[in-house]
Symmetry: C2
Subunit: 334 residues, 2 copies
C-alpha cells in the first residue's frame, strides 16, 4: 500500500472559506474566554495550543451544520468554542498521560511548562466550556455535551487500562476510538443541528454522520502515522510505534501474527524495548498481513456511511462540502 499524502486538501479549505466569518467570531470568543485577570499562565498555555492551529475540524462541523439549517443566531459560535475547548482540554491532559513530547508540531505544553500547568489549565478550559454551553440556555445541547464529556473521560481511562497490552481486541479498540474521538465529532455535529432547530430524525442523522466521520478520520490518522509523509502530515512517521500505541493496523497485524511476530510486538509495544530497524520491521509485518489495507478499507466504509447519513439533510452547499470532507479523509489513503 502507498499513501498519496499529496492529495490537495481542497475540501477542507473550501469549508473553512465558506465558514470564514463564523470561524473568526469563534476565534474571538475563544481568545476572550482564555483571558484571566489574575493568572496569566492560563492564556499563555492555552494560546500555545490554540495558536498552533489545530485544523478545527470539530468546531467546523458545528458551524457548518448550524448554517446549513439556516441558523441566524450566535449560539453556534458558543457551541463551536465549547467543542474546541473540550478538545483542547483533552489534549492538555493527554499530554500528561502520554508523556507526549510533540503536539501539533510543537513541543507539548507539559515540556514547556510542566504537568501541573497542563492539568490545571486543562481543568480551566473544561470549566469554561461548560460555562459557554450553559450560556446557550439549551438543555438538550447541555445534555449531549455533558454526556460526551463523561464518555471522553471514561474512554481515556479505559485506554489507560488497555494501554500497550497485546490482549487488546479489535472490538475493545474500536470502543475506545469511538468514545475518545468519534463521540466529540458526533456531538459537534449534533449540537449544531439542535441549536438550529433540526428535527429529531435529522439530529439522529447528524449523530451518525459525526460518529462515522470521526471513526474514518481516526483510522486514517493512525494509518498516516505509519505510512504518511512527514512534510504533509507535520508529524514524524512512527510516532505511535515509539509511543507504544496500539492502533488499528497494529492490532490487525497482531491478530494474524505467528509466535515469532508476537514476540516482536511483545518486546516493542508491551515492554517498550525498541532498537534501530524496529519501525521498518513493524511496517513490514503490518504489510505482510494486509493489516493496512484492511484498516484502509474499514476507514473507507465508515467514510461512505458518514456521507450516506448526510442525505436526509437539507440540500445546501455546506452539506456538499461536509460530504466532500468526509471523502477527503480517506482519499488520502490511496
Amino acid at each position: 500500500m502507498s499513501l498519496d499524502t499529496y492529495v490537495s486538501a481542497k475540501p477542507y479549505h473550501l469549508l473553512a472559506e465558506a465558514l470564514q466569518d463564523d470561524l473568526e467570531a469563534m476565534d474571538r470568543l475563544i481568545r476572550e474566554r482564555m483571558q484571566s485577570r489574575d493568572a496569566p499562565l492560563i492564556p499563555e498555555v492555552a494560546a500555545h495550543l490554540v495558536d498552533a492551529g489545530g485544523k478545527r475540524v470539530r468546531p467546523m462541523l458545528t458551524l457548518a451544520v448550524a448554517r446549513l439549517f439556516g441558523y441566524r443566531g450566535e449560539d453556534h459560535h458558543r457551541l463551536a468554542a465549547t467543542v474546541e475547548f473540550i478538545h483542547t482540554a483533552t489534549l492538555l491532559h493527554d499530554d500528561v498521560v502520554d508523556e507526549g513530547r510533540q503536539r501539533r508540531g510543537r513541543p507539548s505544553a507539559n515540556l514547556l511548562w510542566d504537568n501541573k500547568s497542563s492539568v490545571l489549565v486543562g481543568d480551566y478550559l473544561f470549566a469554561r466550556s461548560f460555562q459557554l454551553m450553559v450560556e446557550t440556555g439549551s438543555l438538550p445541547v447541555m445534555d449531549v455535551l455533558s454526556q460526551t464529556a463523561a464518555m471522553l473521560a471514561e474512554s481515556e481511562v479505559l485506554q489507560l487500562s488497555a494501554s500497550a497490552s497485546l490482549a487488546t481486541t479489535e472490538e475493545m479498540h474500536m470502543r475506545i476510538l469511538r468514545g475518545k474521538t468519534a463521540a466529540l465529532f458526533s456531538a459537534a455535529a449534533e449540537v449544531g443541528g439542535i441549536v438550529a432547530g433540526a428535527t429529531e430524525r435529522q439530529v439522529e442523522a447528524l449523530r451518525e454522520f459525526g460518529d462515522a466521520f470521526g471513526i474514518a478520520f481516526q483510522i486514517a490518522d493512525d494509518l498516516l502515522d505509519y505510512f504518511g509523509d512527514a512534510e504533509t502530515t507535520g508529524k514524524e512517521p512512527g510516532n505511535d510505534f515509539r509511543e507504544r500505541k496500539l492502533t488499528l493496523p497494529v492490532i490487525k497485524a497482531i491478530a494474524n501474527a505467528g509466535a515469532e511476530e508476537r514476540a516482536f510486538w511483545r518486546r516493542t509495544i508491551e515492554r517498550g524495548e525498541q532498537k534501530d530497524g524496529d519501525l521498518e520491521q513493524a511496517l513490514e509485518l503490518i504489510a505482510r498481513h494486509d493489516a493496512a489495507v484492511e484498516a484502509r478499507d474499514e476507514a473507507r466504509e465508515w467514510s461512505a456511511k458518514a456521507r450516506d447519513a448526510l442525505e436526509i439533510l437539507p440540500d445546501h452547499e455546506l452539506r456538499d462540502m461536509l460530504h466532500d470532507l468526509a471523502e477527503f479523509v480517506v482519499v488520502r489513503l490511496a
Copy 2:
C-alpha cells in the same frame, strides 16, 4: 496560643443526623454514578476517596439549605452529589499538582495508582458532575456551578504561580483561598436555595454565608495544621510546612519578619531545604509575631459574618444547626 482540638464536634454530628436520609440518598447517587461498565479503574479510584469519608461539609450545606426552605423534590441530592464530585475531582488533581502523599489519612490516589489515573478519573468525576447538574434542568443552578468550576480552576493556576514565593501578599493569598475553597462552599449553599425557590435576597445571603463560612473553615484548617493534635485532626501537624505551602499564619509571620527570619523562610519554604528542628522554629516565629492569634481572630470574624448572613433565612432548626456549625469551626481555635 493553644488549640483545644478536643472540643466536641457535636454541631457537625447533629447536622449529619438531621440530614441522614438525604445523605444516604446522595451516597446512593454518588455510588451509582461512579460506576463504569468498561473501566473498573474509575469506581476503584473514586471509591478510595469517597469511602475514606471526607466530612462532606459542602454537600451538607446544599442539603440543609434546600430542606430549611421546605424543598420536597430530589434535585438537592443531585446538586449535593455534583458539589461532592467537583470537590473530589479537585482533590484528585490537587494530588498530582502537590505531589501529595496523604489525603484524608490515607495514601493519596496518585501513590496507589499513578498520576495518569488521578488526572483521568478526576476528569470523569468532573464530567459526571456536569451531567448531574444538567439533569436538574435549572439554568440558574448551572450558571452558578459552571462559574464556580472556572473560578476553582483559575485559583488553582493562580496558586501554582504564587506557589512557595515569599512575595505572595496576604491580599493575593486571600483571593486564592476564596476562589479555591470558599467559592465551592458558597455555590453549595446558593444552589440549595435556588432549587428550593429562595428569593433573590435570600440567595444573596446564602452566597455570603458560604463565602464567609468557607474562609473561616480554611483559615481554621490552616491553623490546625500547625497547632492541631494529630489524633483529632487525622493529620500529622506541620504537613503544610513540609509541603512548603504558604498559609495565612506563615504569610503574616513573614510580613513582620526581620532579615534573619526572612532567610529562614526563604530557605525552608522557597527553596524547600528543611532540616530537623525547622518546624519548631517555624512555630516559634509564627507565635512571636502573633501571626496565629491574628489569623484566629480573622477566622472568628468570618465565622461571625457567616452567622449574621443566616439571619434573614426562614426560622428553622437546620438554620440553627448551620449557625452552630459556623461557630464550631472557630471554637476549636481556643
